[in-house]
């Protein structure tokens, strides 16, 4: 027996490793919370090094980008001169619109609503080492009052939600993640559905609509709906790019281009609390409902 095991030790070891890892895969695909908290603990340990590297990388990226921009500056200069003519003609029209806008703002009392939103600013210090899942680590954690389930936003729109925290860092699942499910609605037609990450590599979102024939069109703005566990209603998600039928034609799905540029998220805001019933903080450019 001993001789048999010794003779076949390599295949046996490999089979054992494969079996153990397969069981681990199967179990962790069902358990999410505990696995993520372990990852977050590691994130906290390495957060000083991550912050330093991210800072250095950012500075180097800016330097390289500036050199690259020199080649396009001349072409842009010509285009800008042409645009200047156009903008001058639009100036009069804009001044009228600005007046009307200020009146509407007053009516909506968005300024008043803003004071009730409690936000914490945080910096993205690292991303997930797995390309297939879209999470980032921010430099604020439970010490700053952040806990799992809180919405994370940017002035341009929704970024994602906190899925786990440590005292000094938190892991945020981006809207691009295949597991992110956000209750959403089309602003124009009020058609409701769920927005989630389309594919790991894609920077677009899928809007799965509930209705059989929703009146949804490319160019429509999509915001978070009130049927939402984590996100306040009315936060801008993105714009509809394409509408198509599902495989059997029962429902429709739309491709949504997120309003946030996920390649350039450096600073984000975590929504610690917001007043019930209000929808849109004034930092958002999205339309009111």
């Amino acid at each position: 027996m001993g001789g048999f095991i010794f003779r076949w030790r390599r295949p046996i070891i490999i089979l054992l490793v494969v079996a153990v890892v397969s069981v681990s895969l199967s179990v962790t695909s069902r358990l999410h919370g505990k696995v993520e908290s372990m990852s977050n603990a590691i994130g906290s340990l390495v957060s000083p090094a991550s912050s330093t590297l991210a800072y250095l990388g950012n500075k180097v990226g800016v330097g390289v980008g500036t050199i690259g921009e020199l080649f396009t500056l001349q072409r842009e200069n010509q285009q800008l001169k042409q645009q200047l003519l156009l903008y001058n003609s639009m100036k009069l029209e804009l001044s009228e619109l600005a007046e009307e806008n200020s009146q509407l703002r007053g009516l909506l009392q968005l300024k008043g609503a803003a004071s009730h939103w409690k936000l914490v600013t945080a910096t993205v210090i690292s991303r997930n080492p797995d390309t297939w899942f879209q999470t980032v680590v921010i430099n604020r954690g439970s010490d700053s009052g952040i806990h799992a389930g809180m919405a994370v936003i940017e002035p341009q729109g929704v970024v994602g939600r906190v899925i786990s925290t440590s005292p000094v860092s938190a892991t945020v699942m981006l809207l691009l993640d295949p597991d992110s499910g956000v209750g959403a609605e089309d602003v124009r037609s009020q058609a409701a559905g769920v927005v989630s990450g389309r594919a790991a590599i894609s920077d677009e979102l899928t809007f799965q609509l509930f209705a059989h024939h929703p009146n949804i069109q490319p160019g429509d703005a999509v915001v978070t709906s009130s049927y939402n566990q984590y996100y306040p209603a009315g936060l801008l998600i993105g714009e509809v790019a394409k509408v198509s039928k599902t495989a059997y034609g029962l429902t429709e799905t739309a491709v949504v281009v997120p309003s946030v540029n996920f390649n350039q998220i450096d600073n984000v805001m975590v929504v610690l609390s917001h007043p019930n019933g209000t929808s849109l903080p004034p930092i958002f450019g999205g339309g009111s409902r």
Binding site: V18, V21, V35, E36, I42, R198, A199, A200, I201
Partner: protein, 171 residues
């Protein structure tokens, strides 16, 4: 010799993952950030026995899985098998410091991606094949260039040369 110690591998993988999560996302767009565990596993396994190659890949993959915090075993399984295969091949091929590591890493990258696609489908994450394979050219180029570079920086040598420093001059 430090290159054969497990602690060295852990430190290398830790540094690799730090660069991969904090520095590379500043250069590569989202979804295209390349993997540094793969080149490290190839370099380590090239100078190891199959069993230790498997162990190195298992350690690197597991560290990546724990760091990612989603599916424990996806990368551990992938890189353990990769480490074993590379170390197994090592005794059968002519080894140099540039072309062989680069070609092996490129080949590994070609195989790892479809393998992970299958595993993810098995655990219920069905990602479209075309989207999944989209970053392959970028990763292939990166891996084939970075692997020899890492090998050159680390200066790993075969065990017999380390044990007998002048063996390369003996005929």
């Amino acid at each position: 010799m430090w290159q054969f110690r497990v602690v060295t591998w852990v430190v290398l993988y830790l540094l690799g993952l730090l660069v991969q999560t904090a520095l590379l996302p500043q250069i590569f767009p989202i979804g295209y950030v390349p993997d540094l565990v793969l080149p490290l596993t190839v370099i380590i396994a090239l100078y190891e026995t199959p069993r230790r190659g498997l162990l190195a890949g298992l350690i690197g993959g597991l560290m990546q899985d724990v760091w990612a915090g989603r599916l424990w075993g996806l990368n551990a399984l992938t890189f353990a098998l990769l480490g074993f295969a590379i170390a197994h091949l090592e005794s059968r091929i002519v080894r140099d410091n540039v072309f062989v590591p680069g070609l092996l890493a490129g080949l590994a990258q070609l195989l790892v991606l479809p393998f992970q696609w299958v595993i993810l489908r098995m655990v219920g994450l069905a990602l479209p094949w075309s989207q999944f394979m989209k970053p392959l050219p970028v990763w292939l180029l990166f891996t084939m260039l970075v692997t020899p570079a890492i090998g050159g920086i680390l200066g790993f040598r075969p065990r017999h040369e380390v044990d007998r420093p002048y063996s390369r001059y003996v005929r």
